[in-house]
Structure formats: C-alpha cells, structure tokens
Subunit: 379 residues, 2 copies
C-alpha cells in the first residue's frame, strides 16, 4: 500500500532529516478535532488514511523512513505509532506538555545536531494537505540546497486566491544559490490579512502563502533561536545532551521542559531571520491547504463546487434536499438537511456543531466558551 | 396537580361527551414525532406534560373525567393510558389500523349513540395547543347549544395573521340559536391558501381558521356520514352494535374495520353539511395552534420573538452564538450553533434534522424519502 503511494524523485536528500511536529489539536475543527483526537489523526480528504500518515508518505522519498522524527504529546504516542509502523524509537520525541513550536522544533534540531553535526532538517506540519507531490518534493530539494548554503529556508505557496485565512510571505530579490535556482530573499512575514489587503498582495505578485515549512541546517536554526531567546536555547541544548542517555532524559525533561518559554517559531526564527536577510523562500506551485477550518474542509472535499454538499464519514447516512456545504458524520445517525446553504454540520457521538462556511473561523470561540463553562468532557 | 390546572366554568355540559382522536404521527415534526412517539405524546410547549394530557385537562371541566373517549392505535394504548390514568376502559377505542377521521370519530359517535341515545359529542384533536381556557370552554358551551339545536357545529379560530398553514372557514349570516348567541352559518371550507389569498381572507373579515373541532348530536353526525357514505355508516353502526359485547367485538373489528373507507371527516361531514346549511360555527377568540411544523413550534416557544433561539428538551446543552430558530434536543449531546438564523435543529439519538423555518413544511417529503429508501428504522 505505502509503496504505491510513494513518488520517488531521485534518491533521498543528503544529510537531510524530516521533522514532523504533531501537536496542535485544530480547535477550529471542533467537535471533529479533540484533545484526544487531534486534527492530524483524522482522514480529512477521503484518502483513507490520516493527515499524519499522508505527511509521512510524502517525506519518505526525501529523507528515507529512518530519518523522519515526530514530535508529539505523550498522550498521542500510541496513536502516532500505530499510524506510522516504520517510525523508530529514537525518532519519537514526546512532549510532557505542549510548549509551542520553538520548543518542539528546536528540541528536534538540538537532538539531531547532537547526534549528527551538520544535519539539515526540514519541519513540516502533520496536518496539512498537499497535492502534486513531484512539485512539493522538488521544492524541498531546492530548499535543502539553500539550507546547505546557510539560509534558514521556507517554502511559500503561490497564492491562487486572496485567502484571508493564511499568513503571507513578502519576498524580495532573487538569491543566487547553487541547486536552488528559484530561491528568493524574504522581505517580511505578514499576519492573516483582511480581504482588501489580501487582494492587494495578489495583485502585487510578490507574496506567497506561509505554509510553516522550515528547512535549514540544525545548527543555524539553533543559532537563530539563541540570538533571540538564549535561555530557551540553553534549555534545548541541555535537553539534547541528556536525550540519548536513558538515565538522564527523564530528570532533564522534568526539570527543563515545563520551564521553556512557549513561543511560536515564527517569532524566534522566521521573522528575525527575515529582517536580518538570513531567510530564503522557495516558491511552491503544488496544491496546499492547512485545512484551518470547516470552510476550507468543505472546499477541499467538494471539488471546488460551491453548490455541492461534501460528506465526510465512512458510515454517513445523509439525506440532502437542496442543501450545500459539508456534513461530517462520526455517528451512524441519519442526517437530513433541507434547504440549508453553505451549511456546516459536524455530528459526533457527544457533540453537534451547526454553523455556516462564513462563520467557520468562529468555531474556536465556541471551544473557548466550552472551556469556560466547564463542558470539558466534549473538548 | 391536575386539580390546579382545571379552570372550571360552571358544571359539565349536559349529555355531553368529549372525543379525542389520537391518531396522527405528525410527520412534519420528524424526527421528534415518530410512529412509536407521535406528536400527541410530546410536550411541545414546555408545560411539563404531553399535548394529549393538556387536551384531556381542558376537556375535563366540560364533560367530566368519566365522559372523555379516546380513539387511538393499538400500539399507543399503554402510552395513552399512562398519560391519562383516569381514562376508563369503556372510553378507550383502539384502532387495529388507521382508517382516517371519519372512521375514528364516526365509530366513537356510533358507540356513544348506542349507549346513550341523543348524546352530544365534541371531537378535539389530541395534538393542538390552546391557551386562554375560559374562552375555549365558553366557545364549546355555545357550540354544544348549537349542536343541541340540531346543527353540526364547529369552532373557528379568529385569525391573527394571514397563515398559509391552516384551512379556513368562510362564514355567512348570524344564526339565532338559544344559548349560542355568536353562532354563524358556515358558507364553505377553504383549503390552505397561498399568502395573497390568506391576506384577502384576513382583509375580508368573514374567515376563521379551521381547528378541526366538531360538536354535534351523535345521531346527526352519523346521519351526515350516511348521506354521503352509506356503506361506511352501516359498517360503523354494525361495529357499535357489537362493541360492548366482548364475544362480538373482536370478530366484528376484524371483519369490518379494515374494509372501512379511509376518508377525512371534512369530506363526509363538514363540507356537505356546510353546503346544505346544516353547519354552524362559533368564533373562538382563544390562542390556538395545530403545531403543524417546526416553524410553528419555534414561534410557539420563542414568545413570538423572531430573533430568539427556542430550546426544547429537558436535558438540552445548547451553546448559541448569534443564532435564532429552534433546537429540539432529545440527546444529552452538546449542541453548538454559530451564526445560523431561523434554523431548525432536531437532535435525537438516531436521527438529526437541520433545516430552516422557511423549509419546515418540506419535512414530510424527507419522511417520504426515508420510507422509499428503506430507512424505516428511524421513522
């Protein structure tokens, strides 16, 4: 099965290691995504396998099965290992509690650099959807070449519409890097824009979507963290030093991990490196989506036809009369929709969500409200 | 409890018997209403008791507990008896299968006339909602007086809006009947109109809503049936003759009941009697609703405020953000609504309905589709 899905484009990249941070719950996909069933453990594309497994499959040709590290929560260990039977024990990094992406990716970088000085790492979210793998893989190969030349490198997606749900990368001049002919200097990162701003970005032409992919030498990544957060770096290095010693790891984790600053890698690495001219971007022309909310999920599963009703769920029993949008069925209940347009219905055994595509971003607020009201049983 | 709810307006009406046909499932309220949980067995008003029990309670002051007959399906016997502990055995008429309202009400009339010649009967649906009981009871008292004078009598509701979900009664001249000062001759019955027609009715001023209440001498009702459907009448008389003999009832039912014509009492009694000038109407100024669909249920439970979200269900856990309409919760699931207006969500253990008030009348079509597709487990 796995063999068939691999599209090998040449040999694995030299000295390259893939890192998959598998942490986020995906609150905007509640009640499908939960603390105990995060987004990366769902099949959101009808591919028949989880997003995590899809991610693994597209990285194998780039780094080889032995060189993919997964950073995840202790609670997800069993689920992750059952999804990825080829994942080896040294490649599983378990977080005792979430400390955001600088700690997660930084720890992977520190462990790998300690084991193999000079290694190049590429970190790729566990819960994104990518189509057209040859284009993805060639972008990563270019990014690895730029990383080898010393750049912190990202892959930015060529926008196809003025999306307001993604961050943007503003690029500048072309860089001249051997093996990375399309590399560009990154001028700055932009937060999720409003529609007018997004339309401006698209018209301008020198903006790409930020897909949270970072490829760099591990030592360069750590250096960048150290420049901005020296205390965080020293914690990571200390952890990495102890990591492969069974007697030392546990105590080091207990002492150091909970005290690490919670901060996204965007602020500790991406933005400062861009400002300092140390960040390169490879434009990606493959299809990419972070499946950030149910509007995105509906679009992804309806083949782009807005009038259609997308149905997700193996045992879905859906009866639709003049309705469009998406139904996610995790129960075996009969679901009837009559005359509801752009609707989002997510039906799980203990929680039901009814909203519209337009309101999809507001789902997170409901999750927050459920926390406040103590309805944590359904989170 | 029951005692408190009774608003006794004088003594019971002389020689009067109430009949409650409790038959219809209420398909437009699926998946709340089902074959095994028809509309009349639900609390749709938040009163804390079923519509059937509400109906019983408002008839007790008019006829007394010993003089209320319930015609229902065999399958509902236990549920009906548990709702109405004072219902006596001779007052339970069980249908082996549904044969529509002429058979149901006609059989009750025939049995009661056989037991007590000259009895006046009033038939009242088991699943309507009525508020302002003193006005209801005084209308029934007037209707009974008109019935005693020989009229087939109905109570028509003074319209408060151009409703398209109800039938209408067009009335003519005032009748001079002792004890029934507001009695009017009925000119004709009108099917559910379109909006323009309904607005015309309201502007005209001589139209009332048809609430399917019929009050008449039992013998006059039977006479009316016999004029139009002599075979149906002879079947009913034969059944009534055998009814109170335990040895004869079963065989008579098996032989006669399944062969009775299925036809609504509107066609066998109301319309022909109106055409012949034998039908009187008492205008009713009480609040009445047949709760025909979820739009009506939403209105009934939101106090008329269109911006509100009505919530029905004892254990409902509903979180609403900028939503309006109605949620019926029969599970203990958390239900979250975000930005959905005029929505109808009906959440039951095995079926879920999502529609809008505007589409409420189309629910029946879904039930029909479920029948056709063999999903009878949820009907």
């Amino acid at each position: 099965m796995t063999q068939k899905r691999r599209i090998t484009q040449g040999p694995p990249i030299e000295r390259f290691y893939s890192v998959i941070p598998a942490g986020g719950i995906g609150s905007r996909l509640w009640p499908l995504s939960r603390a105990d069933a995060p987004k990366f453990l769902h099949d959101l594309t009808g591919s028949g396998q989880t997003l995590l497994r899809d991610t693994w499959d597209r990285l194998v040709p780039l780094s080889g099965e032995q060189r993919i590290m997964v950073v995840t929560g202790r609670a997800h260990r069993a689920a992750v290992e059952s999804q990825l039977p080829s994942l080896t024990d040294p490649n599983v990094v378990l977080e005792s509690e979430p400390r955001d992406s600088t700690a997660a990716i930084g720890l992977a970088a520190a462990i790998l650099e300690h084991r193999e000085p000079g290694v190049i790492i590429g970190s790729f979210a566990a819960d994104h959807v990518i189509n057209n793998l040859p284009l993805f893989q060639s972008a990563v190969r270019e990014a690895a070449a730029a990383a080898r030349a010393g750049y912190i490198t990202t892959i930015g997606i060529q926008p196809t519409e003025p999306a307001v749900g993604f961050g943007y990368i503003h690029y500048g001049e072309r860089l001249e890097i051997a093996g990375a002919p399309s590399a560009l200097a990154v001028d700055s990162f932009k937060e999720k824009p409003d529609l007018a701003t997004a339309e401006g970005y698209l018209a301008n032409g020198s903006y790409l979507w930020n897909a949270s992919m970072f490829i760099s030498r591990a030592d360069k990544l750590l250096e960048e963290i150290g420049r901005n957060k020296p205390k965080l770096l020293s914690g990571l290095l200390e952890l990495a030093e102890a990591w492969d010693d069974p007697a030392k790891r546990g105590p080091a984790v207990d002492r150091i991990w909970p005290a690490l600053e919670k901060i996204a890698i965007d602020y500790t690495v991406a933005e400062p490196a861009a400002a300092a001219g140390r960040l390169a971007v490879i434009p990606g022309y493959f299809d990419w989506d972070d499946v950030g909310d149910f509007a995105s999920l509906a679009k992804l599963n309806s083949g782009g036809r807005k009038s259609d009703l997308a149905i997700l769920g193996e045992n879905a029993r859906v009866l639709s009369d003049s309705s469009s949008g998406i139904v996610v069925s995790q129960s075996n209940r009969v679901i009837s929709l009559i005359g509801v347009k752009d609707i989002v219905v997510v039906d799980t055994p203990d929680a039901l969500l009814v909203t519209t595509s337009e309101n999809a971003q507001r789902v997170k607020a409901v999750v927050d409200a459920l926390k406040i009201t103590g309805s944590t049983d359904v989170l």
